[in-house]
Symmetry: C2
Subunit: 289 residues, 2 copies
């Protein structure tokens, strides 16, 4: 079974000892409720390091008032078992007051990238994410950190933060793991009613149809976004927060696609009180390819 660590100081000591012994460390930051998507990241982490730390911390500062902080699932014992089986050596699972003691007053923020998409819908979300990720990097002192492409904007924001602050940590991104019908795995899928669950795969279908349009040389990004919206509107009860076709690096929304550029198709849709996100990255075909 993995070693469970609750205190920052103990985690730093354990990491130092591993480094001192010449072993590389990979960290997989999670909020628990581990599903196959997380476990694929743990397995990916193992290929990069001799020791894997999985962090389990439901970070309150990335939830806005009225979001699902309280009801967020916390099946801790099952998480420990799954993380261990997938190859975790240490579980870092501090209580909230260990990471945010009285008087806590510091934040890490990224401008620009964080204003659009998820950041537009959830204005304080990414500041919470970048602050906790910086803290978790400093608690676990890793060589490599592994994140999932499922949170596509988060990946871009964390890459920016890690580079800007000179974290000596390599960011590795694992592909989105999906159910058989295409729905991206998410800890929030458990909130869906049977009907919502049956409709939710339309998100991935919409992304794939948009990808097909791009590969068929449609260059009008606005038309491609409309295509996604129409498909979701006609085939589900979901309320669209956004559908986007943006540059994959800068997240700037596109109008006319540039051949050879990498773009991210992404969306956020509400089913009842459950908000689902998904994305895929596509290379716009070059003229003579």
């Amino acid at each position: 079974m993995s070693t469970i660590i609750r205190e920052v100081h103990a985690m730093q000591e354990a990491s130092r000892a591993e480094r001192q012994a010449g072993r590389r460390i990979a960290v997989v930051p999670t909020m628990g409720a581990l599903h196959e998507g997380h476990l694929s990241l743990v397995r990916l982490a193992r290929t990069h390091a001799e020791r894997v730390i999985t962090t389990i911390f439901v970070n309150p500062t990335q939830f806005a008032p009225g979001e699902d902080l309280e009801r967020y699932p916390r099946p801790f014992e099952r998480d420990v078992e799954r993380a261990t089986t997938a190859g975790t050596d240490f579980i870092f699972a501090p209580p909230v007051e260990e990471l945010y003691p009285a008087g806590f007053a510091t934040s890490v923020a990224v401008e620009g990238l964080t204003r659009v998409l998820e950041g537009a819908a959830r204005p304080t979300h990414f500041r919470g994410v970048t602050t906790i990720v910086a803290k978790l990097f400093l608690c676990t002192l890793p060589d490599v950190a592994v994140f999932g492409q499922k949170d596509g904007q988060q990946v871009a924001v964390i890459r920016r933060m890690a580079a800007d602050l000179n974290f000596p940590v390599r960011i590795v991104v694992g592909p989105t793991v999906r159910e058989a019908d295409g729905l991206a795995m998410s800890s929030r899928n458990v909130y869906l009613s049977a009907r919502e669950r049956s409709e939710a795969p339309v998100l991935y279908r919409a992304l794939r149809q948009a990808e097909e349009a791009i590969l068929n040389r449609e260059k009008n990004a606005v038309a491609i976004v409309e295509l996604m919206k129409r498909l979701i509107g006609e085939n589900s009860s979901g309320l669209i927060d956004y559908c986007s076709l943006a540059d994959a690096g800068t997240l700037v929304e596109q109008e006319q696609l540039k051949p050879g550029s990498m773009v991210m198709l992404s969306l956020a849709v509400r089913f009842g009180s459950t908000r689902l996100i998904d994305n895929i990255v596509v290379e716009v075909p070059k003229p003579n390819s």
Copy 2:
């Protein structure tokens, strides 16, 4: 002579190699123009670690438009010589674009503590300081970081930032080094005219008279601040930005002094276009001591 390093990656490699060899590292962050105050911090750093890194970087983001960024003194070769003589092993002196490349978008900020005193006069200053200090910690990966009490509020802000983000770095503070007449050493003293220079020691005299009042059991903080202002006003052409008597930890301005508490007397005064700061920390006497 110290080894001069210009690149982040090379600095991290050098630090890693020292650590791997079991040597502790102390960093002394400076903006160069090294005087006896800085050198005392280098000597203090040596007592805490086998390797001392002095960073020399005039950080543009902690200067506001109209401040003295362009004319800030940069006597690099003399700095290297002095730092080396005082016990520096590595000088980390990156060019601006190495630390702030195109697209840089991240900041580290501390709330509360940074709104008062220097932060009230210079609203973006401390965000620049905390961001660069976080970056320099991650570039140099030290065990210990040494700062001067001269920048008293900066010390409180950096302690908060380092604790909040879980930096595994011990913050050590060296006492303010003064000229024979009491003027705190500062790279900005060179800007003073002969007359301003002759008046400037009144800052330290005011701090010491206020300290004496506290030790003589004056409890009215407002009266003590007035005492400092009067002394400076009557004995110099300096324009007072602020005189303060605040809790030394929280920097909350005091009205009635609490016996046994630690307070910081501090001030900022402009002589022509030169702004000088100084402070001392005092323990308020207990009733029966």
